[in-house]
Every structure is written in C-alpha cells, then in structure tokens.
Point group: C2
Chain length 335, copies 2
Amino acid sequence: MPSLGQTMLGEEGIIQRYFAPLAAGYPGAHGLRDDAAVVAPPPGHDLVVTVDAVAAGVHFFPDDTPADIGWKALAVNVSDLVAKGATPHAYVMSLAFPEPPSADWLAGFASGLAEAQAAFGLHLIGGDTDRRSGPVAITITAFGFVPTGAMCRRGAARAGDIIFVSGTLGDSALGLRVRGGQAEVAAWGLSDDHRAHLVARYLRPLPRVALAPVLIAHACAAMDISDGLLKDLGRMAAASGVGATVQLDELPLSAAARYVLRTDLATWRDIAAGGDDYEVLACVAPERAALFLAAAKAVGVEVQAIGRVNAGRSLELLDRVGQPVQYVQMGYDHF
Amino acid sequence: MPSLGQTMLGEEGIIQRYFAPLAAGYPGAHGLRDDAAVVAPPPGHDLVVTVDAVAAGVHFFPDDTPADIGWKALAVNVSDLVAKGATPHAYVMSLAFPEPPSADWLAGFASGLAEAQAAFGLHLIGGDTDRRSGPVAITITAFGFVPTGAMCRRGAARAGDIIFVSGTLGDSALGLRVRGGQAEVAAWGLSDDHRAHLVARYLRPLPRVALAPVLIAHACAAMDISDGLLKDLGRMAAASGVGATVQLDELPLSAAARYVLRTDLATWRDIAAGGDDYEVLACVAPERAALFLAAAKAVGVEVQAIGRVNAGRSLELLDRVGQPVQYVQMGYDHF
C-alpha cells in the first residue's frame, strides 16, 4: 500500500466517512454508531456464519488497487456462504493497518466493497479498526440465510453422486502467475484479452450467488473451491468417508486457460490444484443431476460434471483415455 | 510468544486437536469440520453481533501466558455483548501467526478460551487460521441474543438519567502499568495482594454477564467501558445528543486502586480514562434507579451511580466539593 498519509480523521472519523455509507441500507447496523449490530433471520431460516481473513503479501499483492482488495476480501467470504446454499445477507469487518491508510486508499477500498455488496446482495453491519505492525489485513465474518436445517454440508457426499463444479477452474491460479510477472508466463504467448481475463479472475472472484438456492434444492453436499480442486475435493471426500474419481479432461476451462494448457502442459497442476477459484464443488445424486443442470441453467450459472463419488477412500484422477494420473498432494496449507 | 516450534500438524490438525473440543457442545459448529456454522436465534429474539481483535504488543504483552491471551480475546467481545443486554451464545475466531505456534502455546491458549467459554456461557463455532508477518492477532466475532428489538443502544440516553457503572474502574489501567514494570509503580508501595489484584484485572477482564437481562429490563442506554470512562461516556453522550456530569468522588474503586490514588494523585487519570475496564456504563431513568439497583444486587453485580445526564452537550467532571475539574480529552484512539 504505497504512500500512506495521515488522514487526521481518527478511527471514528474514518468509520463515518468511508464505511458508514456501506451500512446505510441496513437498519440493524445503526449507522455503525453503536457497539454491536442486530440480525434477525426470517422465520423458518437459519443463519449461516463464515469467517475468512485476507492479508497483503499472502492473499493479495500490496499494490493491488484498494478497490480490488475490498472486492476480494468480501468475495472470498460470499463464496463460502453460497457454496453452503446460503443467500448472502450481511457482514462485519475487522481491519488492521500498520500505518494510517491514505484517504485515497480508504475511498478506493470502500468503493470495491460497495461494488461487491451490490453484486452479491449484502451489507456491512459492524467492524473494528486497529493499527498494528505487519501487513494490511482484512478479516470478514459473513452471514447468510438458509431454510432451517438445510445448509449444504461438506461431509454428506454419497457413493454414486455426480461431482459438479461451477464456472471454470484454474483461471485465478494462472492469473496469479501473470499478475506476479513470472518468467514462464512470457512463453505462454497470451493475447491481451486472455491476460486480462486471467488477472481479472484472480483479482475479482465471482462467487455464484444465483446457485445457492439450486444447491439447497438439489445437492447432497457442497463447498467452495478455494485451495484448489484436488485439495478441496479431498477434504469433501474425507469428511464424507468416500472416494472420488475425476476425469481431468472434463475440468471446465476458459478459452484463456485452454490456450495456456496447450502451450505449457505442466499448468494442469495450476488448474487442478492452484487455488483461489471460488467456484462451487457440489455432489448431486444421479437421479437429480438433470434437474440440477436445468436449475443451474435457469439461473445462468454454468456447471460441469467432472466425475463420480465412489465407495473407496482415495481420490483418483483419470486422463482422457481413462489412465490414472500420478500426482502428489497439492494445494495451499498455511502451516 | 517465545520458542515457537513446528507443530507438524498442519492447519486442519491444529483445528481438530486444539479447537474442535471448544466446539463440541454446539451442534451447529459441525465439529469445525465444515466451511460454515449454523446459528438459530430462539423465537422472539434478535442476534446481536460484535467484532473485536486483539494483537500482541497492542492489546496484550507477547509474553502473557497463552491462557490469559485466550481469556482476554474472548472476554473483550463478551463485554460488548453484555453491555448491549445480550446473553452470550457463540463466537467465530480468526487467528494470525507469524510462525507456527508451539503445541504448548496452542494448548494453553485453548485452555484459556475453554475457561472463558465456561465462565461466560458461549461456544466456538468456526474460524480461520493464517500465517503472516506481524504480531499474533486474534479476531473474534461474537454472537448473543436479546428479545426482539430490545438491544440496549449507545445513543438512547436522556437528560435526567442517572449514570451507573458496574464493578470498579481503573484496576486494569493500573494493572497494565504494574505488568509493564513502569518506574513510578515502585513508589506506589503496593502489597503483593494489591499488585496481583490489579494485574489480574488487566489480564482477565470479567464482563458482567449476569447484568445483561437487568440492562434489558431497566436501562435506557448502555455500552461497555473499553477505552476509558471519559472517552466512552463522551461517545455515549455524543450519540445521544446530551451532556453529562460525573462526580469523580463517586467512581467505584477497588481497595488496591484507592491505595494507589492516595500515594499518587495523578493516577486519577488512569482510573477515569485509562481503558480496558470492560465494565458496563448504563443510563437509567431516575424512576427506575431503585429497581435497577435491586435487580443488579439480586444477580450479584455491584453497580454505582456516578453522575447525571443533562441537556447540555459537554462532559463535566466535578470534584468532591462540586468544583469542575479541568481535563484534556483522553483515552485510546488507534489513528
């Protein structure tokens, strides 16, 4: 975060100028002038709660635009809600800054949050701002609603289920390499459009909000893909006590990712295990697969069958002729 | 945090070994094995939400015991809930570590959280763990319940209300100076008991959970005192559009704080503005004051009238003979 300057506003001034407008549409936020917010789930609904932090140098580049940082901080939380079948509703945010942020940075950050709020349908309702050493960090706790008892679980996949993913995989992991200016990227020979597509997917994840009710209606199990398909599918299989077979050839790819994969076959690992996809991974009983596909299409979200749940305990990857592909466990672990 | 060692457990291993036991009593936490938790307020109740982060070197000493750190991280959030009249229910926690914490540190930290959970009546239901540079930081979002529409507001004090505080003030601010080993502290000539009392109040805040329903029944306005009485009362007065007069002589003091004040008169500023009290500040209509006092006594919480709300716009401090005391604005601001 370059050129931080003293804002002279103080903590409460910052909250009122930059963040209170993000809470204006939510009565229970009390204009961010109280010590707590009030949330009332509608009758017949549970509140779904998730928390995710992003920090400069770990989850985003310190010189990403503040609007992109704001968008991403909220989007990664909305992704968790949506994959649980929850309709996004509200969030609280805890900010840590090593130095007082500049007015420009705060204005840009708030504008990115405002864009994401409008896109995903939720409101800021409370927060906390601290100054401490270390990277800029944004911790968001997000709330959504599901019909009582209906939250899509990670551990409820059953042998025979068809494994679906939304959107396309790997764009964000490839976009990260483009954004980071890695040497190999030049050899990919990307067009400007492809570069822009991949970087945008990294900077501005697009959780599939419209898919939430479709998951509630048709999925046995669901979670978001944030640490790479293979790692997250492995978690889902372990939590469900099942195995899974994935047809690598069926992974949905954007035109840009297909182009990269053609010139650099090793990027299949970025696609299958690179992380930051923020797409939905869902298991659907075979007899409901057609309904699930039709309902997803009706809400405008692409979903693709990529494999099957089985009664084993392992995760098997098959190439286009059905041969097992060797791989070592991949994906991001903080420790 | 001294002598961090590699735990070899990985993020999920850490969660399952140290934190899942803290969630065992709450079905909606799904054993911390899912991506989100489920909360269902009882019929006729709102969910109250608050978020507060604590960081090493800012809110606690890096070499405080991990059990004390865990206790405090949760207690400061419970304090906000209680002052809003909410009965504590559940919390999610986001952890940031610059290095993998040692098994001993994690075990101690979890034990402090477990003690605080038992004392305050709430459960861990979800979380997030990241590794990044900077201090150890713990961000907690806590949830409580109030009867629908009944949350105690900061901005609802009215001219004529009597201003009450719970417990005693200043112990924590004085305890911080003792804990920090400041040179002036030697001159206070404290007994071991008094030292221990003050430091314990700093390390282990005791939010007045039993007072929550009393506030709902009798208070016009309430908030917790975390940044010093004068700053927080100033906020309450500003939010309510009123003024306030405080009798400094009426501030409730522990035996230890009285002893310090006798030898070092300048410590009245620590007492009135030092922060970290985590007591309740409440405004009660005069006709309900006797009921409030009786109800507080019935639940075993000491409360003390310290002044009056008035129709002005300023905060006036009076000494024991009714003379105004000059002071400059004090209390903690992060920016």
